[in-house]
Amino acid sequence: MEVVSYRSVETFVQHIPEVTALGVWIKAIIILAVISAIAGFGTYVERKVLAFMQRRLGPMHVGPYGLLQIIADGIKLFTKEDIVPQNANKFIFMVAPVITAATAFIALAAVPVFPDFTIPEWIPVIGGTFVPSIAADLNIGILFVLGMMAAGLYGPLLAGMAQANKWGLIGAARTAVQFLSYEVVTGLSILAPIMIVGSLSFVDFNAAQAGGIANWLVWKQPVAFVLFLIAGFAETNRTPFDLLEHEAEVVSGYATEYSGMRWGMFFIGEYANMITISVIAAVVFLGGYSADGMGWLWIMLKIAFFFMLMLWVRAAWPHVRPDQLMWLCWKVLMPIAVINVVITGIVMMV
């Protein structure tokens, strides 16, 4: 198999205009604004899609087709009383949701979210600024995103431990177990594509898959793709792996005592993580983005597909039990991931 050398990457990078500090600032603000908005809109889409799959109407009363429900929910979240339980560790309790939201957005800094563009010259002050597709183009982008998502573990964990509530504590314990276990699967499953491309940079992944659907890594690494998706569901706390806040067992898990905007920050962080996982899956396995023509639309469609898939799975599958979750991780997914890496290595050597 062909390994992309750094030489070819350099030529790829060269015909992109220079990235200025202003461009990165603008990009950061765009990511923060748009992803927060998408997280809000995502709740509406999720409720609608689930409703249609279950032959219901979903939100219908506020505005046309219930579209203004997002605004109503937003007003509710912002105006709700911010309750801190009496016996809770107040500082940690208040900081925990911020960790979830912050790590989710920091992870998005190293991910290509939206294609790059240049602001038209006629706009005052910021006109002519080139806005890159990746806010911080690290040459180890994938590792950074995985590491930041690993740090996101502390949000639910500290929230559960600080609130002096047994449901919260059980939710926190489940967080630690689930996230730690599935990080192993995420890392090992994405290792095989990394070996083929020979780089940890999203730009290199994109370049390696340029030139049509036949070059997509999903055809070379179907096993890794499926493993990554399953682990991604677990890491973003989606059904069938949403044991951290399983209503029937632990009330709301780590989020039991939270209300108002602090709860909302957990929610935004979760949706931002869903988008991050969708973007990684789209760029690493499904060919990513191309700079010319309708490339920007395709990457949006790919991300939307993964987002939709998460809703679809939620409508179609029941929860798993915690012991089934651990069995699946350590006795099924991890061995398959290791075997996949070994086979990939052998094929590359021969």
Partner: protein
């Protein structure tokens, strides 16, 4: 200039956070500040341009080691303070003196900064991960393999320790085999 600001900011925050780790009597504060300090240390690697090591610091210390600590913390009541045993004054004196000596040496180090050279300087155009990999698999191959064997030994030992009573269920009554018999026993009661 950005780097200088970031460096002093990170240094102050790291020292402050680690001070909280040592001084605090609250488990939760100690753990949180230690984890946050680890994140900030990875910031130093990023400032130095060692992206790969920075991310490894993040994944290994923040994502794995600290998470295991915090998992152990689950067994304590995290919202209460811990009664600490007071250490003997002689030990405090000795350790304090040693740390002061080390600090003086560290601050005096840059006087001879011209004597410090990078043994394995970074190559232009080659990524961080490649540079680390090349050194790791040539010069430091033996320590690398020894570390791998050590981890393997630790893993096997862990499995054996944890797996001693694996064939017995903790939740199920082992004297009763199937659901029918459980029901029968309930009826009998």
């Amino acid at each position: 200039m950005y780097e200088a600001i970031a460096f002093y900011l990170f240094s102050a925050l790291t020292i402050g956070l680690f001070l909280i780790t040592v001084m605090s009597k609250n488990v939760l504060y100690a753990m949180t500040s230690l984890a946050a300090g680890m994140v900030l240390i990875s910031g130093f690697f990023f400032i130095l341009g060692a992206d790969f090591l920075g991310v490894v610091q993040l994944i290994v210390y923040v994502g794995a080691v600290m998470a295991l600590y915090s998992f152990a913390m689950m067994f304590f009541d995290a919202t209460r303070d811990i009664k600490e045993k007071n250490t003997p004054a002689a030990l405090v004196f000795l350790l304090g003196g040693l740390s002061a000596l080390v600090l003086v040496l560290i601050f005096a180090g840059p006087i001879h900064s011209d004597a410090i050279q990078a043994l394995y300087p970074m190559h232009e155009g080659v990524g961080n991960a490649q540079d680390v990999g090349i050194v790791l698999f040539t010069k430091y191959l033996v320590p690398f393999e020894v570390a791998a064997v050590m981890l393997l030994v630790a893993m096997i030992a862990g499995i054996i320790l944890a797996g001693k009573k694996m064939d017995q269920s903790l939740t199920k009554d082992t004297s009763v085999d199937d659901a029918d018999e459980i029901l029968k026993q309930k009826d009998a009661k």
